[in-house]
Amino acid sequence: MEIGNLQRRYLDFASTLFHEGFLDNQFTQLQQLQDESSPEFVLEVVTLFFEDSEKLLDELSRTLNQQAVDFKKVDAHVHQLKGSSASIGAQRVKNVCVAFRNCCEEMNQEGCLRCLRQVRNEYFLVKNKLETLFALEQQIVAAGGSVPMMW
């Protein structure tokens, strides 16, 4: 596919991610920090976010499915997930975490399980979108083009 088309596809796709609320301005901040000295910075941060988040989601599932739920522990994990998702601009994940923390404070197990389902859903959605975005970047570079700036 011609470079120009790939670049347009990339910009259109990226634009929908922001428009649909998957990403916010913090993601643009990460892209602005990427430079020649750290050309893979965004990929590195997001990859770490994926690894960390999946561990947290597994731990949340385990903790919430115990007989006696340790809501402090659940809240601590959600706090971590909220922080990391905010740091990379994964807005919808972060927003579910805000509601999740409220359920923890109320010690509402059902509410927490509902939030866990929602946050897992939002996490895998944004993971899929970001993987597609990075794949488009790779296609552009492989075709000999440069990844267009979104700002």
Binding site: N25, Q26, Q29, L30, Q32, L33, S38, F41, E44, V45, L48, F49, D52, A76, H79, Q80, K82, G83, S84, A86, S87, I88, V98
Partner: protein, 136 residues
Amino acid sequence: MAALAISSCGRRALLVDDNVINRMVVRKLVEEQGIALEEAENGKEAVELVKEGRVFDLILMDREMPVMDGPQATKQLRSLGVTTPIVALSADAMQSDKDSFLQAGADDFVEKPLSVDKFALVLTKYGLQDGQAADQ
């Protein structure tokens, strides 16, 4: 845990945050400004670093951390005689949380996540922009 990035311009910052991804992003922000950065995973580690004799031009302190939180660490640092600007970092903090952090001795409160622009404002406010580094 304390990671040190050496720079030649003399400005030194301490980042206190338990979240590994937050630290990765702020590390890049700080290093872009040519500032040497040390990191601590919680308030207790931060206090230990200062007790070991480390001196900083700026401390970025997260609010919620295990072992010792931001306000506690700030109180302890002030009681040790630390006069370094301490900028509290938190997301979605209630006014009462902000007030207690400032009462503990923090100089400023910045909403997370820390952006390029917010960090630039912090550096300017405390005289740490490149070319205006404070004397120690």
